[in-house]
Assembly symmetry: C2
Homo-oligomer: 557 residues x 2
Amino acid sequence: MLLETIHHRPESPYAYPLELDQLRVRIRTKKGEVSGCRVFHGDRYRSEEEEEEVLLTQTASDLWFDWFEGVIPAPTRRVQYVFRLDTEENTWWYGEKGISQERGAAGVFHYAYIHEEAVLRVPEWARDAAVYQIFPERFANGDAGLDPEGVLPWKSNTPPKSDSFYGGDLKGIIDRIPWLAELGVNTLYLTPIFRSPSNHKYNIDDYEQIDPGFGDWKTCKAMVETAHHYGIRVLFDGVFNHSGSGFFAFRDVQEKGAASPYKNWFRIRDFPVVMSPQPHYETFADHIPDMPKLMTHLPEVREYFLNVAEYWTREMGIDGWRLDVANEVDAAFWRAFRERIRSVNPDALIVGEIWHDPGPWLRGDQWDSVMNYRFREAVISFFATCEWTAEEFEARLTSARMGVPEQAASAMWNLLGSHDTERFLTRCNHDRKRFQLAVLFQMTYPGIPMIYYGDEVGMEGGPDPDCRRPMVWEEEKQDRELFDFHRKLLDLRHRLAPLRRGDYRTWKVDGKKGIYAFLRRYQEESVGVVINNGDRRRSIRLEGTAWGEGAVLLDPL
Amino acid sequence: MLLETIHHRPESPYAYPLELDQLRVRIRTKKGEVSGCRVFHGDRYRSEEEEEEVLLTQTASDLWFDWFEGVIPAPTRRVQYVFRLDTEENTWWYGEKGISQERGAAGVFHYAYIHEEAVLRVPEWARDAAVYQIFPERFANGDAGLDPEGVLPWKSNTPPKSDSFYGGDLKGIIDRIPWLAELGVNTLYLTPIFRSPSNHKYNIDDYEQIDPGFGDWKTCKAMVETAHHYGIRVLFDGVFNHSGSGFFAFRDVQEKGAASPYKNWFRIRDFPVVMSPQPHYETFADHIPDMPKLMTHLPEVREYFLNVAEYWTREMGIDGWRLDVANEVDAAFWRAFRERIRSVNPDALIVGEIWHDPGPWLRGDQWDSVMNYRFREAVISFFATCEWTAEEFEARLTSARMGVPEQAASAMWNLLGSHDTERFLTRCNHDRKRFQLAVLFQMTYPGIPMIYYGDEVGMEGGPDPDCRRPMVWEEEKQDRELFDFHRKLLDLRHRLAPLRRGDYRTWKVDGKKGIYAFLRRYQEESVGVVINNGDRRRSIRLEGTAWGEGAVLLDPL
């Protein structure tokens, strides 16, 4: 056996609590080498004689590895455990000291104590969520009286510029909530709506006010209440990495220089504050003058923004936050954020923006999940550009899924596009069939599907700012077939619990034929999804599995 | 190349900041396969053209793997990077997406932002420290007036019982400080000294008082000041996992039951509180009635113990804490503890008791290092029982060293024994030569050597309580040769900076001959250590290395 490839560590994502008395463990082995895997476990202070045994299940594979998983009961919260791996020829023990045929030489892993802060508690409702992302300036104009000067006509066929305004607002969202309910989404994520001079509002000048071009406190409250009335939850966008240059604290520093009590809220090289040609202070990304980086690790800065977040959570009754540039803000801020927000709304969902490996942020104390851009990458390479085989596709999905706790994997925002990317249909080179396959996959794979406004009616658009065109509302310009396709799949998802809450198992992967099939199981019910990503009709043989045996095959689409 | 064995993750211990603008990266490859390794890096928001390149150094190997390491300059604190691995036949790229011969397909790793909380800052003095552990009840009796009733005569040749008292106290420690200075240690770690009915005092009844059998506030202050006068630092033992059953809060719960305001400080199944035959509340380990587990995750409990720790740190002017059962206390407590203690004494050293993989606690926000029991295990298997070959010994040391950031590895408390283990000389079956080899290794390997009181004069003792015999003070009963050996090695360590502060490289490992040789280098100076663990004289050939070329060989012992 290739021992060098076996991997486990007694911490997330290889060991993490589901509850205070349940520890889920995961072990990675070389593909095809291990036929059976068990874990022997007990309280850290008890003897080997009192230990118990759990049979692990092989839950996933990629091109190189297999994963086995199981749940260790931990009534005392203190766990020690050792794996036993069976191969055709031998039995191996694997513990903290290494891998050995002698149990004693392998040692044991210790998960010293299960603390509440390590239990990733994702709100129950998230398992049933379907998210719709709105870029408010471009979604719907409900109150022409709020339109900024120089507003452009609501036309979707020309690319916006980075400083264009079209007049979208919160009233527009309110008006369209019945339409969103008809589509079948039940969660809205709004990009920022606080006062800001830009159309995207990621440079916030006043965190305590709704942008006057979007509406006011009352409109916002009406929007949230209308949404709730329709069974739709609302998430705001939290921009705590940087403020706008008109933020009161930054203005104070601009005015008073080193004498400002807010000078440490930012990292300013020297005074007076210089904004151009290059800012003399740290900013978001690469010297963006109107996005000064916030020193959120300082208690007074942290407190200010926690109060902001608490205020909106409580006063507007929102259901959670999407967090901007979240991996550049300090972990202490996010820990305090989670504590504060959950104290106001124990059911608030917290989702970070992160395009890469999110492991460190999903260990129970920071966020529930992330915008799953790695999902988008995989879906592009398989469905849109067909660069990957089904095997490569599965491998990438598997390793992403195995890189986070199950609770987070089930709550990932599986997106095909966002305000920061080319639109998916455009990425598919306008091929609706490819797009539809991707949507089918998105709606059936573990995680929360997220639709970027307009994708569901066939909107096109290249990278930012082109992906931010005004929403197409004229029915004759909408792709109604696509809309119905989305509606049908969302409906199917809501009707079939396994698609929302089920475990996942790969069923069949056949790169040559372009077949990718998987099963979702929840309680006694299983749903199989069979995708033909190739360009012709195929006959395939699907083996019965532990889950699929004797299944009735239906084509509910 | 065996791609399945290559491993990196963009978090500690594979990527961690040394400073706010320096990121150390580490990559593990299959032994002998990679001839050269580079990392290409840049700011996350800049283009590939602006990236720079760092050549990594192979710093370690074990039986299966090689490790390469290097430091990425990160002036903007935001890093993306990709590894290039050269083998004899090919060049491979390794990034977040995987391993590929095409750079683009490999993707890049992201270390999104270097925050202060992720920089593990170990006090500078720790690099020069040599620790001596004192179990005060057994070290020296300086004030017979404090002796408890039924005190036993100070005799080292009979095993103590678990409830024996011999009368050791703080005055005894004060009296022996010149002797400790003569030995050459510069840091004392005292097991608990707060009021407690036991001889070990790990069940503390009053965290605000020195145990009257040990002395009072003034004696304690005099002890710390005398130590400081001799250039010796003092660390206390922090027992925050559990209290004693006489702790005021627990007594209150015993008296008032569910009506006590302290009832949530513990986890009590039902009221009234039952202590026997089995406690009805959670305790340390397995139902130990006089050690009720503390709910340190509750703000009021946390605050109480942070105040305790702050009080002693400030009022006694101590230099740090050793933390008892530290991996069973919640991480939030330790983060707050570090912040609080460092705000009082920025140079305080924080060392956890943990017998296993300490990785999660050594990421900058909790502790500086741990009591290195894994070091002890390795040293026993190689020097004491000779079960391991030199190759196995090196492998175990390497994987422990590579499992934590370098700052922590340099500050590990490398111990041969403690109040919780059999004494090392006893473990060596009384073989002084074996013991001496182990001491030589302990004094020259990276980390802080820790001497358990009495080991340096040849004390023997089996597992607790036998390892806690009264210190031997009669010179004729002391092994003076061993004492001199310790003194000489400590002196050598203090004279040769590479032994305290140097990087480490294995020089030669020859299991057949029992040879283990390594180099330490600091600035321009190198020290080589050659250990013959076999039972006869050997001729070996030591190759010149990048560090050893043209070296002058001395035998300073």
